[in-house]
Every structure is written in structure tokens, then in C-alpha cells.
Subunit: 203 residues, 2 copies
């Protein structure tokens, strides 16, 4: 069994259990309106339409982040984050080829530096980022994002990212990362991690 | 490589390709508002909030379906559908244990018979169906639902399900099945298959 199979098996065990099902809220929005006593009656039961995934607004950083932190610091942060990822349970999402991984990290560093006011290395090469779309091939669950964010906090701390611009940077990655979730395993809305929840860990 | 790994590899190849990315619409709703020329400017770029998954209304069948078709015919339909599933690329979703599979099919037949006016076998045993939740452990992509629906049409035909109530039954499974999708691989809204698109195949 490889790591991906273990993850998958653990997920099945933890979710496919009636006890968990009944206690571990929340249920589908609107499910309380389904009265099962009326199954198979003379009148149709109607479940109203609902929406599942809500992607909140994303506010991109400005050139201020690159000016204050320095573009090299932004790149260092991206590299450090991915170093942590490579040694985490997220590694299987990124595949087994370490050389390809670091090549992709370079591109990601180009993107983050550009977004923070640096040269247009990313957009000249790739155009529109279409990030959710680019992540479709990789199974990303709500919990994967949470770990990814947690590693980001560690990386911000490890590279001593300047606190004056950490909030502006954080509010971007925190909200944008919700859009990468493509494997739903719960009805719960993705966890929000506002900057004041992590500020203590950075100080 | 097992079947699941092959599926996963094919998915990666077909999606993780820049040419496909740029041509295979649609893109994320609102992505056209992101002007990449403004990355890293003095002003923040703001991506507005959007929703991704829209689950349309679900209209359950009435006892008329069970009266006209017969509850045994409803059960036969469910069994035939799953016989086709077991011999299709959907099989890995249902796991490798054929005995467990047929036990689950019995429960599904109880559910469908109850919804069509039969005895309350399912709800007395399981309570609220919470179907999306029960399917969370199993990775279900948009394409998997499309194949599942296609096999349903074959099953309706194979068991000669009475045409007078096929539409009432179909509009339920077609709309409900959208709520089982938990792995997004495209921005496209799930394909709708209205009854008049399949009626010809049943006649």
C-alpha cells in the first residue's frame, strides 16, 4: 500500500461509518426539510436547490509587499513552504519526481514575486494563472488545504517574513487556497484562518 | 498499476496540459475579471466571491411509480443497474468485495422501493438517507455520474421499465445524482439529461 492508498483507506474508514455520519455535523443544507415519513406518498417530496462550494472574495497583495519584504524574501518563503510540503503528508499530491517538483516551485516563486510587484516572469510564460483549473488533476481535500496553510505559517516564521506585510500576503493565500479544494469530504464550509489567528505564531 | 491508479494517471494527463487548459472551457466564473497586467501594482486586485457547485431541485417519485411499475420491478431495476455497474469502469468506486457490494445493493433496492411507495425498510433501518454524505468516502467525478446515468438508461431498457412512470422516476435519479459528485475536474456545470433525451433509447 502506498501513501495515497493509506490516505484513501483512512478517509473511507473515518467517513463511512454510521455513528460518525449521524453525529459529525453539519448535514447537507436543506436536508432537514426532507421528511422521510413522506417517502412514497401521493404527493412528491421536493428538495430545494442549494449551492455547495462558496469561494470568498480574494484580495491580491500589492507591490508594497515586494518593496517591504524584498522579492528575494518572497521567493525564499515559497521555497521554504515547499520544502516543508515535501516532507509532509501533502507530498503525494505533488508526485514522486523531486526534480519536477522543484521546477514547479520555481514557477510558483515567479508567480508570487510577480504578484508582489516583481517582474512579469510568470504571466509572460503562462498567461492567466487559472489556478483552480491547474489544480484539477490533483485531489485536494479540505484537510489538505488546512495542512497547507499550517505549513505556510511555519514557513513565514522560518524565513522571518516581515510582519508589516505578512497580513497583506496572508489574506491573499488564505482566501485563494479555498479555490483549490476540489474533493469535498464534508458539508462544512472550508475553515477560515484570519491573520489574527496566526499572528501569535509569527511573533 | 491498479484500475484506480490508471484512472488517476489518465486524469492527470488529460487535465495537466497547458494546451488543453487554454482551449477546454469553461474557465472559473469571474476569471475574466482578473487582469493579469495589474499583478503587483499599487492597488489590490480583487476577485469577487463566486459559488461553484449548484445542486438543482430534486423532485421525488410518488407511490404512483410503485403502483404502476410494481415494487418488484423497481427492485429489479436497481439490481440490473448495479449488475451493469459491476462490469463497468465504475466498479473500483464500489470496492473489490462483491459480497459487500450486493449487500449494499439490497439496501439501495429497499430505498428505491420505499421512495416509490413501498414498505419503510430503508428508513427504519438507516433513518435519513443523507446520500451525499454517505458518498463522501468514494471519489465521484462529473464523468462518473454521466456513466452511471448512461448505465441507468440501459437498465431501464433491459428490465422493460414501464414507460408511463419512467419519466417520474428518471427526473428523481437524474437530479439527485448531481449531489453525489464530490470530485470536481472542470468548471462546467454537471450535464443535465432530461427525460426526452433518453426516451428514444427506451422505446
Amino acid at each position: 500500500m502506498n501513501v495515497e492508498q493509506v490516505r484513501s483507506a483512512v478517509l473511507k474508514l473515518s467517513v463511512h461509518n454510521d455513528a460518525v455520519l449521524s453525529e459529525q455535523g453539519p448535514h447537507c443544507p436543506g436536508s432537514e426539510t426532507l421528511d422521510i415519513r413522506h417517502f412514497g406518498g401521493e404527493e412528491s417530496i421536493v428538495r430545494p436547490a442549494v449551492t455547495d462550494m462558496h469561494f470568498p472574495e480574494v484580495v491580491f497583495p500589492t507591490s508594497r509587499v515586494g518593496r517591504v519584504a524584498g522579492l528575494e524574501k518572497v521567493r525564499e518563503l515559497v521555497v521554504e513552504h515547499h520544502r516543508l510540503i515535501w516532507h509532509s503528508p501533502l507530498q503525494p499530491i505533488f508526485g514522486g519526481n523531486e526534480k519536477h517538483f522543484w521546477k514547479a516551485v520555481e514557477l510558483t516563486a515567479d508567480f508570487h514575486a510577480e504578484v508582489c510587484g516583481g517582474p512579469k516572469l510568470y504571466s509572460e510564460r503562462k498567461g492567466h494563472p487559472h489556478l483552480r483549473e491547474r489544480h484539477f488533476p490533483f485531489t485536494i481535500r479540505e484537510k489538505d488545504r488546512e495542512l497547507w496553510l499550517d505549513l505556510y505559517v511555519q514557513a513565514l516564521r522560518n524565513v522571518a517574513f516581515p510582519l508589516e506585510v505578512a497580513e497583506e500576503y496572508w489574506r491573499w493565500v488564505e482566501s485563494l487556497s479555498i479555490r483549490m479544494i476540489n474533493r469535498r469530504t464534508t458539508f462544512a464550509e472550508p475553515v477560515r484562518v484570519p491573520f489574527n489567528h496566526i499572528a501569535e505564531r509569527l511573533a
